[in-house]
Each structure stands twice: as structure tokens, then as C-alpha cells.
């Protein structure tokens, strides 16, 4: 999805689904906060879909999107960290937030287990996220009604 109005798009799913059951979504985020709009666009889309009565099954953070899961981000004073927004929404709505382990390790995003495994001095994965493999993304695609990728 590139610079679309996500609220409009999610509303169109509501129209599409007007007399039907809810739609489940799997979302992929490919861009990093601060350098790309796409983490925010995906968040706006997820909120709009949920407000319209749909469900977000899993969000998969891939490529530079893994930076969304860092608990070391320091956003400007008037903005909240994207990791915090995602983890709050995920906790309320029971959404899996999965950070691709291969993409994450290459970019210095590690949880406690990977930090120990690779003998690193620290870990920085936000508590609301988990590291896992591409299998989790394929599984989400198989089980969701709709799949949307958010790229820079």
C-alpha cells in the first residue's frame, strides 16, 4: 500500500462486508519508523479495520520494519514510539506482533534469548513483540482473508 488513505480503504472493506461476517487481516510492515511513513500507515489501517468490525490476526515486521520492535527508539518529544502504539493495540485486540528473526539479527534487534546465543551485551526487543521466522508470515497469509503489505 503506497500513500493510500487507509481509513477509506478499511471503510470500503466494511461496505464490502456489510451483510457478512468480519474479515481477518494479515499485515506486513517493511519500513522503519522515522525513515518511512509505512509503520504509521499500517497502524492507522489496523485501527480503522478494527473500528469497522474486522480483525487483525498478525502483523509481521520484515526488512527495515523490524526497527518498529525496538525498545530503544527515542521519538521526538511530541510523538509516541511506534512500538508502544503497536503493543497497546495488540494487547487490547489480541494481535500477534511478530518480528522476522533473520531481518532483525542483521539490523541489531535482539531479544534476551538471541542476545545470549550470540553473546551480545544487551537486548532491545520491546516486550509486546516476539522474534520468529517467515513461517509465521506464511501461516498468517494462509489463515487471513486479506493480506496487505505496507512498504516504503
Amino acid at each position: 500500500m503506497y500513500r493510500n488513505d487507509c481509513s477509506t480503504l478499511a471503510s470500503s472493506y466494511r461496505t464490502f462486508n456489510y451483510c457478512d461476517t468480519m474479515t481477518t487481516f494479515a499485515l506486513m510492515v517493511l519500513g522503519a519508523p522515522a525513515s518511512s511513513q509505512c509503520p504509521q500507515t499500517a497502524l492507522t489501517f489496523a485501527r480503522a479495520a478494527i473500528d469497522a468490525g474486522h480483525r487483525v490476526l498478525r502483523v509481521f515486521f520484515f526488512h527495515d520494519g523490524v526497527h518498529c520492535g525496538s525498545n530503544l527508539l527515542v521519538p521526538p518529544a511530541d510523538q509516541h514510539s511506534v512500538a508502544m502504539h503497536w503493543s497497546e493495540l495488540a494487547a487490547q485486540q489480541n494481535i500477534d506482533l511478530v518480528v522476522c528473526v533473520a531481518s532483525a539479527l542483521k539490523r541489531g534487534i535482539v531479544d534476551a534469548a538471541e542476545s545470549r546465543r550470540y553473546d551480545k551485551a544487551a537486548n532491545n526487543l520491546h516486550a509486546g513483540f516476539e522474534l520468529s521466522g517467515l513461517g509465521q508470515w506464511v501461516d498468517a497469509c494462509i489463515n487471513a482473508d486479506r493480506v496487505v503489505t505496507f512498504g516504503p
Binding site: M1, M28, L30, F62, H63, A102, S103, G133, L134, G135, W137, V138, D139, C141, I142, N143, R146, V147, T149, G151
Partner: protein, 120 residues
């Protein structure tokens, strides 16, 4: 397990950024889960398929080598935008894998019949 039609859309050049590599990883992961996988190369994405690449010149692995793993995962359905190929003065004989050339209408039909498109 449910079997879905995964269409991986490859729009980026093979070097200078890593979207192309990540897209191939996704295609291979889906194939490993016994899904029906097809690749569609659009725009600068067609450059990924050029044969006799030399990644070593910029200290990178050749992208051609990564693509050559696709048949091992039984990913053999590769579509390419024929207009994008023409615009870059390329033909099927310049490519490292056998491809099916598609025009605009055929690309639209492919997108419609896939369960979803993963856009890289």
C-alpha cells in the same frame, strides 16, 4: 493445510537495496509450506533476472545465484511484464530463468486470480 495462491510481486532492482532478496526469501518460505507460489517481475524488478551478473564488483553475492535456488523449492512459475523488458531493451534470452511474458491485461488477470499479492 489450506493451499493458497501466493503472488510475490518483485518491483525493485537486484542491487542497491535488499527488497529483491527478501522477496525471494518469502517465496521460498511459502513454497516450503507447500503453498502455490508464483513470482511476477515488474518495472526495475526485471533487472533481477538478467543473466551473467557479477555482484562481486560491488562486494555483493550475485543475485542470480539466489534466484537459481527457486527451482529447488519447486517455484517454477515466473511471470514478467513484457513492456518492462522492452523498455530496458531486454529479451527472454537475456534472462537466467525461463519466464512467461505477460501484457497488461494478462497481469491484471493474474492479480485477480491470485489469493493475494505480496508487494516488494
Amino acid at each position: 493445510m489450506t493451499r493458497k495462491h501466493f503472488l510475490v510481486v518483485c518491483r525493485r532492482p537486484p542491487y542497491g537495496e535488499s527488497f529483491a532478496r527478501e522477496a525471494i526469501d518469502v517465496a521460498m518460505a511459502a513454497a516450503a509450506f507447500d503453498q502455490q507460489v508464483a513470482l511476477l517481475f515488474l518495472g526495475d524488478g526485471v533487472l533481477q533476472l538478467i543473466n551473467r551478473q557479477d555482484g562481486a564488483a560491488i562486494s555483493q553475492k550475485s543475485f542470480e545465484k539466489q534466484l537459481s535456488a527457486l527451482p529447488l523449492y519447486d517455484v517454477n512459475t515466473i511471470y514478467i511484464d513484457s513492456d518492462a523488458l522492452d523498455k530496458r531493451k531486454l529479451s527472454a534470452s537475456d534472462l537466467s530463468l525461463p519466464v512467461t511474458l505477460l501484457n497488461r491485461d494478462e497481469i491484471t488477470a493474474l492479480l485477480s486470480r491470485s489469493d493475494f499479492a505480496l508487494n516488494f
